[in-house]
Symmetry: C3
Subunit: 116 residues, 3 copies
């Protein structure tokens, strides 16, 4: 069974496919001017692009680990999140607070998804 | 290979079955009056109920991520944990401190387990 | 499909093999006298030993969750990390700050890897 890596740099792969699983490393927003809703949407759409590039989709996400920089952002995160996954397809998730590496990041997500 | 979701709400599934794996999202206590031992036991028994509902069991847990709100609770967490898994069946684990979303939660656990 | 556990104690297994995956629990340095570079190298070499004991290798790591105690250590972590994985084989990773259980630990890593 082969390990297939996507968007590989010296430091990390953005995604790895293995044994019908996709592993996506910590995803953050590039546009740091936005509020939590803008950053959440950018992160989720970036994840979707990765999933689509490997033949998966937002309907097939298994688990998401959400790391939130500021408790005040919890409602805004959920406002976007709750609209993103089609009914009946919400993944498992765990959301805690954490200090992220770049203080401009408000949210970071780590994903495991299904693929063929 | 199908993705099967358990206890699905708009926001999250409590558990997902895929390719002989079970993914369980962040599990916390509902009874916030208890100390760390009571919360740990409630969380572990809740996880066991999820596992049993999918034909798995506490003997088949692969990994547990433990997020602990207060360093003082580490000994109490372990007092319950060390009695929970049958000899020879302890999962891998990683326990760090973290601020949890509800300040009443003392511990949160994320699980991956095996199932048929 | 069988669950095979490595280095099992009452509290945890260091590694579990299941369905062509290896799950490695939180790995930390034993030598706490060293700086971040020494601790990072010890942790990565310890992970490699576990991988080799199950017929995997540093070329087959799928994801690494890095928990860093101190933001000042980020550059030192990467100095070692960036030399560790052979070109084209970097895993997915997510690195955030976290308070670790032992204040002497500067970094902790959780790993999922491929194996036959």
């Amino acid at each position: 069974m082969e390990v297939e890596r996507f968007a590989v740099s010296k430091r990390r792969s953005d995604m790895v496919r293995y044994n019908h699983h996709l592993y996506i490393g910590g995803q953050v927003a590039e546009d740091l001017a936005g509020d939590i809703q803008a950053q959440t949407l950018e992160v989720l759409l970036g994840i979707e692009q990765l999933l689509l590039s490997a033949g998966s989709s937002r309907e097939r996400v298994l688990s998401v680990r959400i790391l939130l920089a500021d408790r005040e952002d919890y409602a805004g995160l959920n406002r976007i999140w709750d609209e993103f996954f089609p009914a009946g397809h919400a993944p498992t998730r765990a959301c805690t607070l954490a200090q992220l590496i770049d203080p401009g990041w408000r949210v970071e997500m780590i994903v495991v998804a299904a693929c063929d």
